[in-house]
């Protein structure tokens, strides 16, 4: 597992989401240009894991693309992705600015 989530983007469509496993994990939503607009996780309270979270994102038309990573360590991986994004881009994705209410750590990944 790399520090960054570097899997290919997939279109945020009902068909692509339906093919997802109902597993816990993390995801990134992207715009048409491939910029990350939000990082999220599917935790233990979701009904159908990643599938449920991405269905909600599709309903809100938050993005056009997505990519996922199945992991049981979804909380620490979520924070890691936020910190890596901030280290790479100097700020959080626009969709996360309001989510992170406590102090986020600093990371300088290689």
């Amino acid at each position: 597992m790399g520090v960054r989530l570097e899997k290919p983007w997939r279109p945020l469509t009902p068909e692509a989401i339906a093919a997802l496993p109902a597993e816990l994990g993390v995801f990134q939503l992207g715009d048409a240009a491939g910029a990350v607009v939000r990082i999220g996780y599917a935790g233990g309270r979701t009904l159908f894991g990643l599938r449920s979270e991405l269905e909600a994102a599709l309903a809100k038309q938050e993005a056009t693309k997505f990519r996922t990573e199945v992991t049981a360590q979804y909380m620490s991986r979520y924070e890691e992705l936020l910190m890596v994004h901030k280290a790479d881009h100097g700020q959080l994705p626009p969709g996360n600015a309001a989510d992170v209410r406590r102090r986020l750590g600093r990371l300088r990944p290689g």
Binding site: G44, R106, R108
Partner: protein, 388 residues
Amino acid sequence: MDFEPSEEQALIVDQVRRFVREEVWPLEAKLDPDASHVEPEDHARLVEKTRAMGLYGLGIPPEFGGPDVDIVTQTLIAIETAQHRAGLYSPCYGAFGGAGLAQLYEANEDQKERYLFPMLRGEKRGFFGLTEPSGGSDPARAIRTKAVRDGDAWVITGSKIFISGADGADFGIVFARTDAEKGRGGITCFIVDADTPGFYVRRVVHTLRSGHYGTELQFEDARVPHANVLGEVNRGFAIANDRLTRQRIPYAAGCLGVAVRAQEMAIDYAKQRETFGAALSTRQAIQWMVVDNEIDIRTARWAILAAACKAARGEPFRTEAAMAKLLASEGASRVVDRAIQIHGGYGVTKDLPLERWYREMRIRRIGEGPSEVQRIVMARDLFDQALY
């Protein structure tokens, strides 16, 4: 020997137990099962209540503003505050505050002004940087991070691993080798500001704890002023060692708290659940599991309180603390495992806290010195050996 809490201790325990059940449990019904934090407004509300109880800042010496609560009472409280889903590593989500980095109470006045007091006011956060990739159980030998004197500063080079909270900290207490020839007599403790050039948090280390993570730290010619040496040069190992011994009592108490709660759940469930026409509680196999749980719980409780009582009397308690840590972490692991077995399939779901405790309890047999190191500590005392 039996331990009977005083009337005041019993009242405090009852008060804390109600706080956990009435204030913390309802919050967890809405949180992610792996969450280790509550929303800031919930945290503020919890802290308001612990302040009203006069119990905020447990572990902070009274002369620094902490409540005047002895170590035995603190231990009884620690057993209670662990009795919820996140309780093993985030007891009551930090609502009782904490002592922070206890080593700073021994700092000089300048260091207290710059680090201790801001930490106690909640303005600064610190981390404890001891373990290295070369090992954590034998820090005297494993520390390879080195510090070299250069004028009025020290230049630190090396790495640390499994360090909690370093990514969000303002400073850290870092142990580095300052004399390669002297073993444990060649280690110095430094206070390192997080914005020091050459110091950075390299990566997150994911573990069985999803809600908490360790970090790996890198020091690349990080220049730390001599004024930030904590204690004396080459005397840092004593600072680390003192902390490791003291920490074992609350660490063990947290394990016991989770075991107590797991046992309660197991008994409740065994009374309700029927198989083949009768409650599980009527089955000898289940009864024996519950009895074995109780043996593990009571054994750990006696050991923990024996250690706390010796510490309270100012007597040496290294063997007792090591024994308590070993018995509690291993015994509580067995209790949680049996409680899962009694709950069957539900026991391994995220609907119940047992699966989280199962994962986190595995770490407790390693953290703060693995069981094998606790045995080494006790053996040294039994054979009256000096530390080697």
